[in-house]
Amino acid sequence: MNRRNAALAATAATLAGAAALADFRSPMEVDVAQLAAEIEAGDDHISALDLGERIMKGDGDIRVLDLRTEAEFGEFHIPGARLISIAALAKETLPRDATIALYSEGGAHAAQAWVLLRLRGYRKAVVLREGVYEWVSRVVEPRLAADATAAERTEFERAAVLSRYFGGVPRTGVGRSELRTGYWTDAAQARPDARSIRRRGC
């Protein structure tokens, strides 16, 4: 091999070796009482609107994890999310500096995953309280009642921006009875279509 190629190879090897060393991290410790306090304070939650805004702004420090099944994920998932099983979550190395947003169908699995991550020392895990349901009903298809209050209107404006960004459909002039009230209280639950929201292809 000639001199130049040897020099290039050495440079590449050095940069790669340095990368491996630079990325080494040690685990941190955790306190159960502190976890309980965080749960009570609600610090473990993230709203769909906040999540949507962070994704839309391109917040590089957020990672979204989906805790549902493959089939559910393939059919629809929050843009940029990654599918992971609870078992994998227990062992995998995740970025320690990033905020890890967890979601599942209704929120139970995500909440359990939150505890596991915190036990492993990941300080910045958050849960989308009502999972996919909350994403679809608050971000993708937000609804505004015909007799909405000013506060509802403001929140809707925020959601409408996100809805359009994610290829959804905001609806106004809706009857009060048609507003979505929550995953457990809703009569007709939202089931997202198998839409693929593509921003970029290759």
């Binding site: 190629n5 290039l8 391109g58 970029r200 292809g201 290759c202």
Partner: protein, 154 residues
Amino acid sequence: MAGAGKPYSDPYLAGIGLGLVLLSAYVWVGRGLGASGAFSSVVVAASTGSASPLGDWLVLELVGVAAGGYLSARLAGRTRAAIERGPRVSRRGRIMAAACGGVLMGLGAKFARGCTSGQALSGGALLSAGSWIFIAACFATGYAFAPLARRLWR
């Protein structure tokens, strides 16, 4: 034949150059290079008559690829109306093979959500698992079937 025109550039230097172009794509527009997606856009636009394919980033990029390729070939004296083929295959055979190979690649790129540019190169550099699966499957298959395609190239 490759005889006419200036000699080809060193592959390692060209590769580093290509890598820098890819890096600039990450930096400027937050995405990697691509190619097959442009073909997809064109087909979709043609069949649904919807949005102009020119609005698609990949189509614009591919137009650039053609322009850059032409420029390089021109400056190196390598532009020629010709059908490049192996020594033992006829012109017709080569044309058929090119078209059939194209069909297979078009199908494959759709399933894979990309091709050698978008998945292998751009996705591979980002360590995407699927991209590496694609790389392995693509090259393994090429090498595995090479003996069957000898008449085309040897």
